[in-house]
Symmetry: C2
Subunit: 112 residues, 2 copies
């Protein structure tokens, strides 16, 4: 189980805000990142399958009722895994602040 990509971490994070179905995860991630992270159907549903197999997410009870929508939520292990990844990012940023603080300026100038 390789460490999840940024896109997948964003998916996990979206789910940490409450249970939701695949397409809603996609929209949540795209909206929240301002379009920086875009999830095609391949990335989205394959990641969901993998995440479910690994026990990081699970289908919520009373999920696929009406129109085939499957609602997912984070498991305990999923929350733990997310915490680990988040800490890794925090570690990188901490090192960056030590080694090269000028790389972390908030004067984004251009974009969003």
């Amino acid at each position: 189980m390789r460490p999840p990509s940024l896109a997948v971490v964003h998916m996990l994070l979206a789910l940490s805000g409450g249970q939701r179905h695949g397409y809603a995860i996609k929209q949540d991630v795209e909206r929240r990142t301002g379009g920086d992270i875009r999830l095609g159907p391949g990335t989205l549903y394959e990641a969901i399958q993998r995440l479910e197999e690994d026990g990081l997410i699970e289908e919520a009870p009373a999920s696929a009722d009406q129109s085939g929508r499957r609602v997912y939520r984070l498991t305990r292990a999923g929350r733990a895994a997310l915490r680990v990844e988040l800490r890794r990012y925090d570690t990188v940023l901490a090192h960056a602040r030590t080694i090269a603080p000028e790389l972390i300026d908030r004067t984004s100038g251009g974009g969003a």
Copy 2:
């Protein structure tokens, strides 16, 4: 050019602390992450090649002199790319603080 993995970002970060050769990058990353990120020869040298092809790093002048050591340093584009990745991590952490602050506790207490 897919976004670099955490391991590669660590490599870039090591290089942002000054020019060095491959093996030194490996040691730097492993030491700084406390062994969390381990770079085998495959990961290390293939990432170096890719990074050089993409113009993110370059061989320093007077590099492969003595014992075949190749010394690398970050290019301008490399610094810019590193900044982008760092900002992405920062964005994820910012969202995490908003959505699920309890996932970012500094009580590193438990394991290593």
